[in-house]
Symmetry: C2
Subunit: 347 residues, 2 copies
Amino acid sequence: MASIKDVAAAAGVSVATVSRVLNEHPSVSADARTRVLAAVAALGYRPNAVARSLRTDQTHTLGLVISDVLNPYFTELARSVEEEARALGYSVIIGNADERPELQDHHVRNLLDRRIDGLLVSPTDGGSPLMLDAARAGTPMVFVDRWIPGLDVPVVRADGRAAVRELVAHLYRLGHRRLAIIAGPAATTTGSERVEAFRAALAEHGLALPDAYTGHGDFQAESGRRVTEGFLDLPEPPEVVFAADNLMALGALDAVRARGLRVPDGLALAAFDDIPWFVHTDPPVTAIAQPTGELGRAAVRALVDRIEGRTPRSVTLPARLVVRRSCGEPAAPFPTQSPSPVQRSTS
Amino acid sequence: MASIKDVAAAAGVSVATVSRVLNEHPSVSADARTRVLAAVAALGYRPNAVARSLRTDQTHTLGLVISDVLNPYFTELARSVEEEARALGYSVIIGNADERPELQDHHVRNLLDRRIDGLLVSPTDGGSPLMLDAARAGTPMVFVDRWIPGLDVPVVRADGRAAVRELVAHLYRLGHRRLAIIAGPAATTTGSERVEAFRAALAEHGLALPDAYTGHGDFQAESGRRVTEGFLDLPEPPEVVFAADNLMALGALDAVRARGLRVPDGLALAAFDDIPWFVHTDPPVTAIAQPTGELGRAAVRALVDRIEGRTPRSVTLPARLVVRRSCGEPAAPFPTQSPSPVQRSTS
DNA sequence: AGTGGTTGTGTAATCGATTCCACGAGCCCA
DNA sequence: TGGGCTCGTGGAATCGATTACACAACCACT
């Protein structure tokens, strides 16, 4: 593959001049410029990004470490991150942690070794020494969706509390009183926050959240199935299960179906994170939708601000409830007189 | 961040010795080794992968350009690719082409500029000059799922012909005679092959595939919806629609539902590519399942063989039919006496 | 004692870019 | 005419690693 020296030789100039042409430095004569550009075209020359990075100490690359690529929420996030990064002149290397802290560490280490310009993380745990050190050492970093408390790192996330209150109000209105939750890992902020929001919302209606109705999952489908089976085995099973993410909801759906029960009569279901498939499941699933694309874009903007010397801002956007049929009430065929801001999907 | 010079100074040796210790070169004294390792630990030194790549001309990185990240098939593929690559000591940079040739080109160019060791591509079209040149110039490359004819590049893919024949036999047995297909772009191999396999299978039953029953989609949901609406507007609409990928099937499901019809009574549906959600849709969707994980792993192995000087092999694995309820017959509650190798899912 | 071989180490070249600095040419103005 | 500009250019240092080569020290043989 041709290098800058070959181009310089072909154009009859020095490598410095070639570099200046390529970087649009003003003081290059028109004559030299055309000769260089001709040589570049003739040789099919492309600058070696590795060499450039070594010299300039910038890779124009962002690292994105997400918790689980098979989760459509994170896929959509990754997509919007890549789009916004591309628009700003950066590429993205994605690391999939699969909800495993040691894999997350592997990717963070790998990305740091590659001298990425900045790191976007949705941590699977409270943070390894590696990540904490990197943050404190000044590696540009932004947390997205989940975060690690106590670090001076901007956070871009959705606030689901209002939507969870709406959801609980909706469930209460439908007559449900025994409400259970499948929580995520307590080490993640989204794992604990969603439980707290749910518990607080229940309290507003004078309802408690007993331990037996608090299942511990890991944000993956299998745990949703396992926890739901436990609920169904209780002497007094819950009437509704609220899964803290879409994959655990999928597992719950499996478990209900495996018992020969139906949603919502046997057990009603709601989920955090809305995805296109929820419109088509049997029945369509009531969910709390995050503004995923907006979160990804905002996270990239914050990170690039940090990298380029501007001051990054944390961003919190509201999530919203999307009512479908998995909790009992058939979606109204026409707008009801409901004064609440609950949205109804078209499904 | 500490460099090799800092380590050398701290350990009281030359940079060459540090490098030897790090690369496990045999002729280093035990004494020097321990001093170097101590300095490495004390400084928290990590080798700069950028500098190393420049010198060795290897990045230990594979590029993966996929057609659409939002398609669960490709997500699963990407995941297995990353896993296998990691096991073999490589990282992966994913580029999402979104079924747009110019975006595909952008990513290929970007990856080549970064001097990735090899490229895994699932082409969205017949191949741009850039990609053809790279292949001919000797860039290690492997095609996965889709390929470009006429290039000497190994191909790792699934052969769906047998499964399509089984599907058509299944549909015929259920009494369906008017069968339509939503094809992918003719520029992709999977776009044209699936139509050909379908047409050939129909011919075995004495059925034709009229133009009116051949819809042209682009592998994304919206096109599935549009084509299906067209089918439903025909004076004599088809009884079954076979979507050439899962997203177009999702679009078809939308279109059917929007008309107030139901699957399979209003219109039966089958899809190429099976995904976890198809078990939970209303009704569960009959699909042709590819051995996705195996494909991803085989593709990485072929590419790494090529990179490391061994001779890569093309691989073709069979796809298989998974019968569910979207074509009419309720899944049998117990194994039938069917002598055919058709698999039945547990849904 | 001299020869040859092994072992451990350092010096310096190298990868492909960017960029500081020096220098010559041309111009303007005093 | 000469001093000070600006402009265009090339030489060379530099980024952080790897590695060819030279060499010193040591050992083992003849």
